[in-house]
Subunit: 623 residues, 2 copies
């Protein structure tokens, strides 16, 4: 079972092609300017300059967090996905320039990390918990693999292999004990193994996974060492579960700790379990995935409830206003859920993939491609956020850049890699996992999925005997030709030759409740169309949104609006709002509640905040 | 208009006498042990030791926050109120011992502050924003006034006057500019003026109030000075409004900044406006008080929504689970509201006084007198709090002591001073403000208020022509004799001689909603009996409490229980809970909600957490 890779798929979808083009034409050139510190009023990056410093080509000092190198690596990875679609001399030249810089910053033994090279050369590998050297190495490898596949140029791949070889010589049984404080290298090594077929990379990934949580905790050991100092002083309070190292990975059973670290680790575990047919590891992945999606995930596909520690907390703790729900964590959930699909081909894993993508991930970037959310709350009252320092992590509007800027380049690479998640092949079976207009040719097989509104035409030429069309959550598939279905897939028996299949995929509108233990959603309802979660914004509905009341049997009409994509209608219904009359000088009262009839307008959650600062709310109070 | 002072009133009330005795017999002796670091497993105090260090009688080092002296001062003040009721040799001897220590710690020019004397003798008055020297002086003065009134002994009064005189020589027009970062000295100086009749103390209080917010902000000036360093590094982000110094006090119009600082400042403003008949200042007090109680106060009488900064935030921002609502801030609200009553005699001010006292303040102390809440949330889910570091300020159980221990001794002094808030005299008018069983004799006047359950017998002998009985919020006053009422007071025309009046005061049970803009209470209800707010605890109701549903027309029965005072019935009604059936592996669902009929038991909010760690919730979801 494997995905048809991004390089082989051409996207041709009303919405996702626009999104892809936005990243290619706007976001990536903008980010390049950011990485070079040429955008005014944006938080300083210094990323490119740091490489120059490490290469001895600049007299400036290193600036920024220790893992800043990854901003460039993720940028190269995203550019690579764009180049697979269409060679672009300008972007490619920038990449080659950057790769030369990376090469210059590589030490003679293969080591690359601009922070350690310029600031703390004697401290290499002494702080695996916080130093992020292996994390940076992972993103370097992912960039190298993507750039090699896109262009066939192997300079960056060689650079990353030299570093991977150094890491392999350093860590392992009978060598130095270790595993990363921030997982990422594991899944990167597995990708490197896939492209190089060099087994030691898979084995090294396995070593890092297997060693984690075994025996004495290496992070605790590090902290005890003489002369140890914290890079992030707040980490002093974090325990082994923060780093997913409280017990061996095969014994873990729920999502815990820093949510991005967690998602990247679990993704690698799923990959490794599949490739090595490791049942115990696969079972751990199943347990953790179930816990994530049935106990700790926002309805928007966000994960990680607490700002402090950017972390998972406990089952059902899903506060709406103080949510963290980092963009990168939902990107991580896409990685995890798609890998879980490779592992067990359950169609529901892809429901989660779409839930994360269509809501939190898409929310991470403004429609202008120049503004980003790091934190994705489910309720925003600007007056509250702007005056309550406990909520200072929540931004009422997307930001130009961040001093810790993991999310924007991560968004760029996930959004440009979407074509690589649409199709999968397994022997003579073809899976169509997400119904995005697109086509691919591979060997004797040609597939073309043309989308017009909700209507699809699927052309298949050559190849497989059976085609599995995943039925997305909360949609109906209507077709005269395609009737059979099983376990959430519609099945086409394809006799060979060239055939056309017609179907419609009609997103349903439904009203969701949360589990009774979710305190933040008690007595509240949320509206979903297909996989898209909707929210109310003040600009369409008067404030306060806390006064809105939604009837549980509300019926919605769809309406197209200019500022949104064709497949993103807004929804309207008639509900109520609590009258503010008689509340003038009163904060609490036993007076009876006066409800006024009110049109309620909802927009896709991912699109909130594109029309200026205003209130927003996903969970509406039920009436 | 003035209160009949605590020294003149004898409490004889089923509930409040128990509370008073608890403080006198249990809390104060326990605190003495704490202040002397003799209680195991409690946070270290070091308070007494610090005085020894400053007096040159100990070789140890100063330990603790800069304002730790106030723990002892508040303890002396509380002991003083106990001694007015009944001399107690043991407590008095401890006080005298402490006073000798304070005297030894006083420098020859009158200055006292164990932190600055031992740690930073050259930095006196250089950091008014954070140094708390004037704050500590204020609590010293309040203790001295109380001890003098209780015992007639003037040693501490002399000590505090010497310090007040030094402060007066230091600060003022044509002297050093200044006002405290943490108000307290202002109201203390006004009390010192009242007992000494020395006008310069009132004028100095006036200077501190008038100077505040005028011209260049002195705190900003301090921070700019060479060599300035922060005592509390987090203060670097705090602006002038945090210290209520953004504009002159007469121009302020809403409660802002650190909530205890705010309440103490506004209390002094109300005192000063009354004593000097300052209309502009009185108007500012009215505006700020209105903003506090109609926009920024929890239904439990808590104030200050944000943990970060322990501060007021903005109108309607009243989160239930992450609430700060510090015990000291509600004590401050009692000070403010009672002073507002002296200023304008509106009966509703005393509704707020009781709302704070009967709920948040009383919640601050466990029934054993050995455990305390600093933070008073309106919703507690232990599993959430114990795993979400963003909520780490919320404790699921009362604590033995705190490293910043302002609240427990503040509770001790407010609870022992309650008798001083019951009665007020204004010419030939007597006000009975809170209906606590008690008596007093003053001049030719004898008043005895005997309470049995809800029935009261009021005996008046001699004196006043008119008696005003305040009608408490959410209660009915029933009497054959007392019928006239006006502006929330029942009025007795007392012809002189000895008379007995009979009345009953029957607490009503009502269901409250919050203003539609209070997001945290949207679609939620809260139950109040008299001034007492009720809550659900897990021990009486199965968890999760988020699944409970309260009908808006619920009818409650009252039930007495052993573990609560006679006047604190629990309440029972029939409501619903959302069934967890069909939610086994599901976090979000469009399935219809199944409600199960369920008895709901509520207890007074102030008594939660006395039966072990469990869920608690004030706002219940409406059905």
């Amino acid at each position: 079972m494997e995905f048809v890779q991004v390089a082989d798929v051409k996207l041709n979808d009303p919405m996702w092609s626009r999104q892809f083009a936005l990243v290619k034409d706007i976001v990536l050139p903008y980010m390049w300017e950011i990485l070079n510190d040429r955008i005014e009023h944006a938080a300083k990056s210094h990323c490119i300059e740091n490489f120059k410093v490490a290469a001895g080509k600049s007299d400036e000092k290193y600036y920024g967090v220790v893992f800043l190198d990854t901003d460039l690596y993720k940028w190269i990875e995203a550019v690579s996905y764009c180049l697979t679609v269409e060679r672009n001399n300008e972007l490619e030249k920038l990449c080659d320039y950057a790769i030369d810089l990376i090469k210059d910053a590589q030490l003679s033994d293969g080591y690359i990390n601009t922070y350690y090279t310029s600031v703390a050369p004697d401290e290499r590998w002494t702080n695996l918990m916080e130093g992020h050297e292996l994390y940076c190495a992972g993103h370097l490898i992912e960039a190298a693999v993507a750039y090699f596949k896109a262009t066939g140029k192997d300079q960056l791949l060689k650079i990353s292999r030299r570093f991977a070889d150094l890491i392999d010589q350093t860590f392992g049984k009978d060598k130095r004990r270790g595993y990363p404080g921030h997982p990422e290298i594991e899944l990167a090594l597995i990708r490197l193994y896939a492209v190089t077929e060099e087994k030691k990379y898979l084995e090294l990934a396995g070593y890092f996974l297997d060693e984690r949580g075994m025996g004495d905790n290496i992070f605790e050991e590090e902290c005890k060492k003489e002369g140890h100092s914290y890079i992030f002083p707040e980490m002093i309070h974090f325990k082994a579960d923060y780093f997913q190292s409280q017990v061996p990975v095969r014994e873990q059973c729920c999502a815990s700790g820093h949510s991005v670290r967690a998602m990247y680790l679990y993704s690698a575990m799923a990959d490794y379990a599949r490739l090595t047919k490791d049942q115990a590891l696969a079972a751990a992945c199943e347990r953790i995935f179930d816990n994530t999606i049935t106990r700790q995930m926002y309805v928007t596909g966000g994960v990680g409830a607490s700002k402090l520690g950017e972390r998972f907390t406990s089952d059902f703790d899903l506060p709406a206003d103080s949510a963290y729900a980092e963009t990168c964590a939902s990107i991580g959930l896409m990685l995890f859920s798609s890998r879980m699909w490779l592992l067990n081909s359950k169609k529901t894993n892809y429901d989660i993939w779409e839930q994360a993508l269509f809501n939190t991930v898409l929310s991470g970037m403004g429609r202008d491609g120049h503004h980003f959310f790091y934190v994705n709350p489910l309720e925003v009252v600007p007056q509250t956020i702007n005056h309550n320092p406990t909520l200072s992590h929540v931004k009422t509007q997307r930001q130009k850049w961040f001093s810790v800027a993991c999310c924007p380049p991560n968004l760029a690479r996930i959004l440009t890699s979407i074509p690589g998640y649409i199709y999968a092949l397994d022997g003579d079976c073809l899976y169509i996992l997400s119904h995005l207009g697109s086509s691919f040719k591979k060997g004797g097989l040609y597939v073309n999925l043309v989308r017009k509104g909700d209507a699809y035409t699927l052309t298949i030429e050559g190849g497989p005997k059976r085609v599995f069309l995943r039925l997305p959550e909360n949609s109906e598939l209507v077709s005269d030709q395609i009737k059979d279905h099983e376990d959430g897939y519609f099945i086409i028996q394809h006799a060979g030759g060239k055939n056309e299949y017609f179907y419609s995929l009609i997103p349903q509108i439904r009203i969701l409740r949360a589990h009774p233990s979710v305190s933040a959603a008690a007595g509240k309802l949320c509206v979903q169309r297909g996989e898209t979660v909707y929210c109310a914004e003040q600009v369409d509905n008067a404030k306060p949104l806390s006064a809105l009341r939604l009837p549980v049997d509300a019926v919605f009409s769809e309406e197209k609006v200019d500022w949104l994509d064709e497949n993103m209608p807004i929804l309207k219904t008639v509900g109520y709002s609590v009258s503010e009359k008689n509340w003038d000088q009163t904060l609490y009262s036993s007076q009876s509640c006066v409800y006024e009839s009110r049109e309620i307008t909802l927009i896709p959650y991912s699109q909130w905040g594109n029309r200026g600062e205003n209130e927003m709310r996903v969970w509406l109070t039920e009436k």
